[in-house]
Symmetry: C2
Subunit: 170 residues, 2 copies
């Protein structure tokens, strides 16, 4: 008998401080990517997603993330990003830009909005203009870019890694 | 004009030390998950994947990861895990078990094999018996578990975060 016994359906961790990340997602090409992002966000304790367009989020993929987090529908991101900015959120774009921080070294403000880029087109000029920071995930091989849901999962992971440490220290 | 200008197709980073992570993947339920894992692994600079079964890796999803990394096909994982163990690799299972380390706090040995669990069944008893360590990603909401490709992406990210720091310091 192995020392490691497989566990299933552990309850989720109750952090000392609430997750204060908001995910802002443009109308994506693929609804599958949107649903995958919803599932990852729910697992990570994200409470609110802002999604553009009316694309259905497939519950077979998103699972019960849709019972956990609020999905706010918008026509476009800039107006809501401006509102969140005036509420004290830092607007952080996940995008390769001329001024990106390496995600490995980036320190998230707990109250942040993570803005995702479109699979093909990336972030629009009006979204880019509202960013406080841009972050990118280093690539060490091929292909030269991560799938959008994969990159989002990595950024969510990094936020949680930092936030969970905050939670413990408070 | 925004301070942030979108960049496309930046060449990948050349690390000072090679990525020494091997990914070991059982026969998964979904070939889409396998292909997504291949793409994320290629981006992360992983050189070798061991995949069980003959499932085709869809190049529309995996992109040119298949030109970058070697895919070794096996009937099952235990024999090749034993070989890699005797070659000095640490065998690390990505699985919720009775003795899992929190990925946030886990220090990877650079020469590691990351073993993935099946979507439904998790890791087999014979795979669990060969692990040196088991790691899990904390869940802070619903659903109670990450998709397998999402969890793998997060673990690959964490390895790269640690390994890239190694690369710089050498």
């Amino acid at each position: 008998m192995s020392e490691f016994i497989h566990l299933r359906h552990k309850p989720y961790s109750q952090p000392a401080t609430p997750n204060q990340l908001v995910l802002a997602i443009p109308q994506l090409r693929s609804n599958v990517n949107l649903a995958r992002i919803a599932r990852a966000a729910g697992c990570c304790g994200v409470k609110k997603i802002i999604a553009c367009g009316n694309a259905k989020i497939d519950p077979k993929i998103a699972r019960d993330s849709l019972d956990f987090l609020e999905v706010q529908r918008k026509r476009s991101l800039p107006p809501v990003l401006k509102e969140l900015k005036s509420d004290g959120y830092r607007i952080v774009g996940l995008e390769q830009t001329t001024h990106s921080h390496n995600l490995h070294e980036y320190q998230f403000q707990m109250k942040s909005v993570l803005v995702i880029g479109h699979e093909r087109l990336g972030m629009s000029e009006s979204e880019l203009a509202l960013l406080d920071d841009s972050i990118e995930i280093p690539v060490f091989g091929l292909p030269l870019s991560y799938n959008v849901a994969t990159a989002t999962a990595m950024a969510l992971y990094e936020y949680c890694r930092q936030w969970a440490q905050q939670s413990v220290s408070i």
